[in-house]
């Protein structure tokens, strides 16, 4: 079978499991590179964050200018004396009283969908629809929360005319995209066990894949729901939950395994050909102490996993941080790439992990291909083993007297999504090189749960960089270090590449920047303040837009007409 027929077969599986839509989201858009729409978290299922649009290119990017700013209303009110909000606010939620003024601190940190000229975005407890032509708010949905860790929300999923997003207090909410009115909501995790939910759901055919987060010692899991009814199709636990489960031998006992973490708070990718949902899991728990977990690898924490979309059964896994002891989840975006590897075409998944290492794995079989170290500062490992997995140095765990370790807890990278550009063949990701002293603050590890038992004190920052990695070697092709006045501990919030031979990113100082992807040279910038999500692009009325959020404002850039 040729590559294209395999692809079409895979696509037809997606299509055949959905009705044909007269309106709403055309599911065929999900499987091809982003162009005139942005229908799912990463622009398309591959999470390459590469757009084939090239109206904006290296020759004209210097003319890029602001098209509009949209300001999102918050809480139950909205609007102000000077700019009364005319869009309706729809209020839902299980809590008796809404939290006055909204919860702290709301911001758009995830993906913004763009379908048929409408933008759809979310923040903890909030969702909005906005006109993609001028930033006018069409509706605002507000969820009365019962609490939960309000750390972020990664965005929404769309099926037909239905939207889906998760709330910090563990509900999956479905909205009518036209009106913002609630279709249904469903509890997806036990709030008492301290789950909180931030993932952008991923729609694949008649499956809606939904993940969770937790900072206590609760097991991670993924669930698949029917997008129409919200009924549960399958639930996959990322740690062993009963005797006989695979991976149990890597834990001290079943009690340790079934409280072992491996949360699923970042969206995975989807490969239509193999029908695998490819995602990655969080750290083991307790996070900083491991005596109670046993000596083993603690599967399937900090792993990339290929899961059959219809059954929720694991086909393969690759562990990027066996027996992690620094709360470095490996939930960073798994990026699907079809490209030559050692002279032959290969179907790969690539990940730059929070632990400072870069991995390439065959996504059909799970076979390890490349491990590279992209953080020069990372000092926590003894090396890479025969499996290509990184071997932790136990001396660099949190210790009573203190251990000097890089990365800090924030990691070499984190949730801000990377990008793969098929034109340059380079994988782009942010790099933070921060050192901290990690102290164990409880000598009796039995007493420690969750994130307890440690103190982390930052002692120095070598800087934040944008790096381009050669996937065939795992080595850095170029590294652009952000100028820094010292101690800014800056972040960049995600990347976008385009066929216009441009790499878009925030910098650490509030600029939106277009770089030359071959060498990291800045070609255009605009200082718009603290950018809170990754840049996206779409084509509307024949014009290409570059879209980012700064907290609860949206800014769209385009070329002058």
């Amino acid at each position: 079978m040729t590559k294209s027929t395999k692809f079409l077969l895979g696509l037809s599986i997606v299509l055949s499991s959905c009705a044909v839509y007269s309106q709403g989201l055309d599911p065929a858009l999900l499987a091809k590179p982003a162009t005139d729409s942005w229908p799912t978290y990463g622009g398309d299922y591959s999470q390459r964050r590469y757009s084939t649009l090239k109206q904006i290119d290296q020759s004209n990017v210097k003319n890029l200018t602001l098209a509009w700013i949209g300001n999102l209303p918050l809480g139950v009110g909205g609007g102000s004396f000077f700019a009364p909000e005319t869009a309706p606010t729809i209020i839902g939620g299980e809590a008796k009283e809404p939290l006055a003024g909204g919860v702290f601190p709301p911001r758009v940190g995830g993906a913004i969908l763009q379908v048929n000229g409408i933008l759809y975005m979310s923040a903890p407890d909030n969702a909005w629809a906005v006109d993609a032509r001028d930033g006018t708010v069409i509706w605002h949905y507000f969820w009365k929360s019962r609490g939960g860790t309000h750390i972020g929300n990664r965005g929404m999923a769309m099926v037909k005319d239905w939207l889906f997003f998760e709330t910090p207090d563990d509900y999956l909410i479905s909205l009518d995209a036209k009106t913002g009115k609630e279709r249904w909501h469903k509890e997806i995790a036990d709030f008492n066990q301290e789950y909180f939910s931030t993932m952008a759901p991923i729609a694949i055919g008649n499956h809606l894949i939904v993940g969770v987060g937790d900072d206590l010692d609760s097991p991670g899991f993924l669930q698949s729901f029917d997008p129409e009814t919200g009924s549960l199709q399958w639930k996959y636990y990322t740690v062993p939950m009963k005797q006989g489960d695979p991976g149990l031998e890597t834990w001290k006992d079943l009690d340790a395994a079934s409280h072992g973490g491996a949360q699923t708070w970042m969206p995975g990718s989807y490969d239509p050909e193999t029908h695998l949902y490819i995602f990655s899991t969080g750290n083991p728990t307790p996070a900083y102490t491991s005596e109670t977990r046993g000596e083993g690898d603690n599967l399937y924490t900090c792993s990339i996993i290929g899961l059959d979309v219809d059954t929720g059964k694991m086909k393969w896994y690759f562990q990027t941080s066996p027996h992690d002891t620094h709360d470095w989840d490996s939930t960073q975006s798994p990026v699907l790439v079809d490209a030559p590897f050692q002279g032959k075409p290969r179907k790969m998944v690539m990940q730059a992990a929070r632990n400072g290492y870069f991995f390439v794995v065959d996504r059909v079989t799970g076979e390890h291909l490349v491990t590279g170290k992209f953080s020069g500062a990372a000092n926590w490992a003894k090396g890479v083993d025969k499996r290509g997995e990184v071997m932790r140095d136990p001396a660099k765990d949190s210790t009573l007297a203190g251990s000097l370790v890089s990365p800090d807890n924030g990691g070499a990278t984190n949730w801000p999504p990377p990008s793969f550009d098929p034109d340059t063949g380079l994988f782009y990701v942010q790099l933070r090189e921060v050192y901290a002293m990690y102290y164990l603050t409880e000598s009796n590890q039995r007493l420690v749960t969750g994130l307890g038992g440690k103190e982390e004190d930052t002692v120095g920052n070598l800087g934040t960089s944008l790096v381009a990695i050669d996937y065939q070697t795992g080595k850095i092709t170029w590294k652009y270090k952000y100028p820094d006045a010292g101690n800014s501990y800056g972040w960049i919030t995600g990347l976008l590449t385009t066929a216009g031979k441009l790499l878009f990113s925030s910098d650490t100082a509030g600029n939106l920047v277009a770089y030359d992807p071959t060498n990291g040279k800045p070609l255009w910038h605009s200082r718009i303040g603290a950018i809170s999500n990754a840049p996206e692009t779409y084509l509307l009325d024949g014009r290409q837009y570059i879209l980012v959020a700064t907290g609860t404002s949206l800014l769209a850039f385009t070329l002058p007409q």
Binding site: L99, A100, V103, F104, R146, G148, T149, H150, G152, F191, N192, Q193, E194, G213, D255, D327, D329, A377, L400, A401, G402, S406, D408, N409, G411, W415, A436, M437, Y439, T441, E442, S443, L447, T449, L451, G452, E455, E456, D457, T458, G460, L462, Y482, P483, D484, A485, G486, N487, S488, Y489, G490, W491, I492, T493, S506, D507, A509, P522, A530, I531
Partner: protein
């Protein structure tokens, strides 16, 4: 009652997630200049107009006498299998993080297990009055320790190094003595700071930023910058911010100046007095850190 109250959580948010930084990292707060000291949180813990929701269900405070009673009952009746600390034993699971205990409000679920047993798993029935069941549940709920910053169960001394070796490192391979002196700038450092602060200071050189204790101290000298225009005119001062496109400084008299950077023009030279400390992080070993700390804490 060991759960972090809402007010505390809100204040942690404000100081940059100092202690309970969750696995998911918060929104980056971009700032091109050293972050100013965070404002003290208002009495109710959240900025005006915003409410910080509880991160998880918060239980009402428990009566210490009931907790104590529950603990005694637990140790005698349950400790043999579940461990006297309730963290699990040879045959019984850790109950502090058990799903059933977390879902239990005030003994209704825990009590059912105590009275009915888990016969298939080898747990017998216990006949116990309501007050005792409730006390055991209260004890279990009080044992929650998810937060960092909890008091340790036994004192911890972080000074484990060899002071003599630290002294030799100070004047030898560490080259600390090229900038510092224990009779000069470091005089009395062991009396001024507790050991953990001494250890962090010797690595960081002081100054704010990042997580944890570093914010306590001020940097020995600010980062400075010299900007030289094409006509030779020089501007010098404290570096406020710099990115690829602009640099801003404050001159000695307080005058603010900013410049647009276009490639190599103007010439911008940054002088970070803490650079030797940053360079040191790449090579210094934990044993040298511990020895230096053991030495510096003796400098009273």
């Amino acid at each position: 009652m060991k759960r972090v109250p809402v007010v505390v959580i809100a204040s942690i948010f404000l100081v940059g997630f100092a202690y309970t930084a969750p696995a998911q990292v918060p929104a980056p707060q971009q700032s091109a200049q050293p972050a100013p000291a965070p404002p003290a949180p208002p009495a109710h813990g959240a900025p005006a107009g915003f409410v910080m929701p509880p991160a998880y269900p918060v239980r009402p405070p428990a009566d210490p006498a009931v907790v104590d009673h529950g603990k005694k009952l637990f140790v005698t009746s349950c400790g043999f299998c579940h461990g006297t600390d309730a963290r699990g034993g040879a045959t019984g699971p850790n109950l502090v993080r058990s799903q059933l205990v977390l879902d239990d409000k005030s003994g209704e679920l825990v009590g059912a297990v105590i009275r009915e047993g888990r016969l298939t798993k080898g747990m017998p029935k216990f006949d116990m009055p309501d007050a005792d069941v409730s006390a055991i549940a209260t004890f279990l709920h009080s044992q929650y320790t998810n937060e960092s910053g909890a008091a340790p169960s036994a004192p911890i001394n972080i000074v484990v190094g060899d002071a003599k070796a630290g002294q030799a490192y100070f004047s030898g391979p560490g080259k600390c003595n090229t900038c510092h002196s224990v009779t000069g700038d470091l005089a009395g450092i062991g009396a001024k700071y507790e050991p953990k602060d001494v250890q962090n200071l010797l690595l960081s050189g002081g100054g704010g930023g990042g997580f944890g204790r570093r914010a306590k101290s001020t940097p020995p000298a600010p980062t400075t910058v010299t900007v030289t225009l094409p006509n030779g005119q020089k501007y010098q001062g404290k570096l406020l911010r710099i990115d690829a496109f602009r640099v801003a400084l404050t001159e000695d008299d307080g005058q603010y100046r900013s410049f647009t950077i276009n490639g190599a023009t103007p010439k911008v030279e940054v002088h970070n007095p803490l650079q030797p400390h940053l360079d040191m992080l790449l090579t210094i070993k934990d044993i040298d850190i511990h020895n230096l700390t053991a030495y510096l804490v003796t400098v009273k």
